[in-house]
Symmetry: C2
Subunit: 281 residues, 2 copies
Amino acid sequence: MSDAPFRTLAVAGLGLIGGSIALAVRERWPSMRVTGVDTPAVLAHVRGNGALDRAVTSMADVGDVDLLVLAAPVHENEALLASLPTPGPALVTDVGGTKRSIVDAAAGLGLASRFVGGHPLGGGERGGFAFARPDLFEGRAWILTPSGTLPASHEALIRFVAGFGARPVTMAPDAHDRLMGYVSHLPQLTASVLMDVVGSRVEADDLRLAGRGLVDTTRLASSPVNIWRDICDTNADAIGAALDDLIARLQALRADLRGAEVERLFGEAARARAELMRGRE
Amino acid sequence: MSDAPFRTLAVAGLGLIGGSIALAVRERWPSMRVTGVDTPAVLAHVRGNGALDRAVTSMADVGDVDLLVLAAPVHENEALLASLPTPGPALVTDVGGTKRSIVDAAAGLGLASRFVGGHPLGGGERGGFAFARPDLFEGRAWILTPSGTLPASHEALIRFVAGFGARPVTMAPDAHDRLMGYVSHLPQLTASVLMDVVGSRVEADDLRLAGRGLVDTTRLASSPVNIWRDICDTNADAIGAALDDLIARLQALRADLRGAEVERLFGEAARARAELMRGRE
């Protein structure tokens, strides 16, 4: 199609998000030439799916594509940034769950004018190309954190993201990290800790007696640690503050299980839940 | 049908659970005569649905039915027990989320030989007869906590429960309350506290940027407080112990967000989650 925002694209890391980007590009702009960067095993799987024009195992072979998408865990994206070839990609973005760390890394490497941080929301608890889908981003927000970038390439990136049916949202890196600390990182860690506690206190046979409440509340507990290790490391201050809030309210409830706190809690939680669900159901 | 375990049934409280029992009885054993006990407004709604043969607003008018099911919040069930007519129902059961309190109340009233505690698992976050369905109990566990009850009536109650497609499970009241503290009450309170924290720290507009993770993790946050007030009150010791466990692990994580605790947590949580989901998917 003539409206393709880029002629050539490279995706480094073909897991759930990177793989879904490659598949979505094939559907939306079949003329765009897509290079995949990953291990030989992953590349063989993705090539079999017809989602790549070219497969390379090293950043040195990426060449001067119009756009490079870094889709590995945060610290690995930072390492990939540091190993970019020269002249290399005209524009670079990433899809990591935190933004301050990678934006700072890009600036430190003198890449500020070529880098726009990105974060497509709502990946899913099951990682890997096996779960990638071209419609993964349909109707979801895709946060962009532009800094010193040229307006023209930012515009192209917005068209790229919108082409997948995502809703582009612009935000500063620190606002992104603080917000995600509450709406993404805190729910993930809460689900993991809840599942860990229940699993350590309840026999496997008795888990059969758990209802849908526990099942839904702990869906995130199978999320891949390689992604979350880096998110916790690069957003520890914001996550720490969110955990402090959670712990304080759990302690208040624990101290007043037979008192007015239960009433207050359910009232506020139901109000916030209704707000969260507005426009979703 | 000739295999009906009881000829006459009364259900006190026609919300999600009590209403679903009435609807399920109509489907399974149309010959069973069903009396409903609730406020005039609720009764009018349920009668319009054809689920009752008789509607009364007072326990005094229930008469000597074969089985009475108490399906109000726990403390209300205890009050209903205390107001039973004489001679009254041959057998009484309840569907409350805690069992020690109501079983003790029955014993205190000299009703031990006529009372069997019950708890059908997995109600749902939306209460009221509007959400009642005859297949609500299909494939779910229904815990029974018999004490001094005559074996014959216990057998009939097991057939009653199994007739709805539920799986009867026998357990002691204190084992029930301790187990539910972890697999039901802790997930509910965790979801409520998480939603309360996020709602108080994130602007309504920014809640639009939350993904499916927060949505699933907080589904329970709209649960009705009238049921949960009594559950917290009558299981405060077990819930307190479960909350202590959760708080301790959250604190351990908070102190080591950049360390090995993240790795341990995700490993254990994923293992427990796989165990929870075994046989469900």
